[in-house]
């Protein structure tokens, strides 16, 4: 006596075992597509200071990177502090409405304040006034 009929279930495809895997992979794919945002990666790794500031970043701002080794980066190229004026002024002249031109400093949280001071003095000396420091929201402190 046979208990299992041979032809009642479909012929085994071999791929059927993969369907749970595909489910998970699709789920992850959708998560990363929706939750992440694709953006150009920075020239240098910067771990910004944490702050409670809630002001959103001005995407139009020209970003200057200051990494943990006190190296400056502008437009993905390393630049010396003394050479900063010319490219900043060139960028300012190319922008459409100069009134809203602003600079964003993306400084590492471990950078000593003096390095930031020197950079700020240089930028101010070049004549720019709208400067922001980029931060990221940290864990809530009690």
């Amino acid at each position: 006596m046979k208990l299992v009929a041979e032809n009642t279930h479909r012929k085994d495809n071999g791929d059927d075992a993969l369907i749970p895997l595909i489910n998970i992979v699709f789920l992850m794919l959708i998560f990363f597509m929706v939750a992440g945002q694709i953006s150009k990666s920075d020239a240098a790794f910067v771990s910004p200071p944490e702050s409670i500031s809630e002001a959103y970043v001005d995407d139009e701002a020209l970003q200057i990177l200051l990494d943990a080794d006190k190296q400056l980066w502008l437009n993905d190229e390393q630049i010396a502090l003394e050479d900063l004026d010319a490219p900043l002024i060139a960028a300012f002249e190319q922008v459409e409405n100069p009134d809203s031109f602003s600079l964003a400093i993306k400084a590492d949280g471990d950078v000593p304040v003096e390095a930031l001071q020197a950079l700020m003095q240089r930028i101010k000396a070049a004549g720019f006034r709208r400067i922001t420091l980029l931060t990221q929201p940290g864990e809530e402190q009690p």
Binding site: L29, T132, L133
Partner: protein, 131 residues
Amino acid sequence: MQLEAFPGKKRRGISLTPLIDVVFILLLFFMLSSNFMHWRQISLSSANQTENKPDEIEIVRVESDAGRVTHDGKTYQLTDLDGLRTLVAAAPEAVYAVEAAPEVKTQTLVSLLDQLHRAGAQKVSMTGVLP
């Protein structure tokens, strides 16, 4: 005469393997290129702070990365929010100008800014340390 494209091969459903290949590649792409950092900003501009001459400027100086803060000869701790509250409560309308000792990290300075805001200071200025 009967023509058969794939003689001997029985038609099956669509094979899932190529689909998985593509989905895996997409997944890898999105995993590696997506960015979960949420950026915020602090304004360092001094232009909008020229309204009136402030009545008083209280200088708060951060001395070390360990969080020692001095103001008017007294020492506070950065984590001691109650102590900072009493500091701010004495003059809530004053402009608190933040200063930093040499070799203090940017993170510590930003933390002091945050703590002064938490303690109730309305105007906190970085222009002392960042001209």
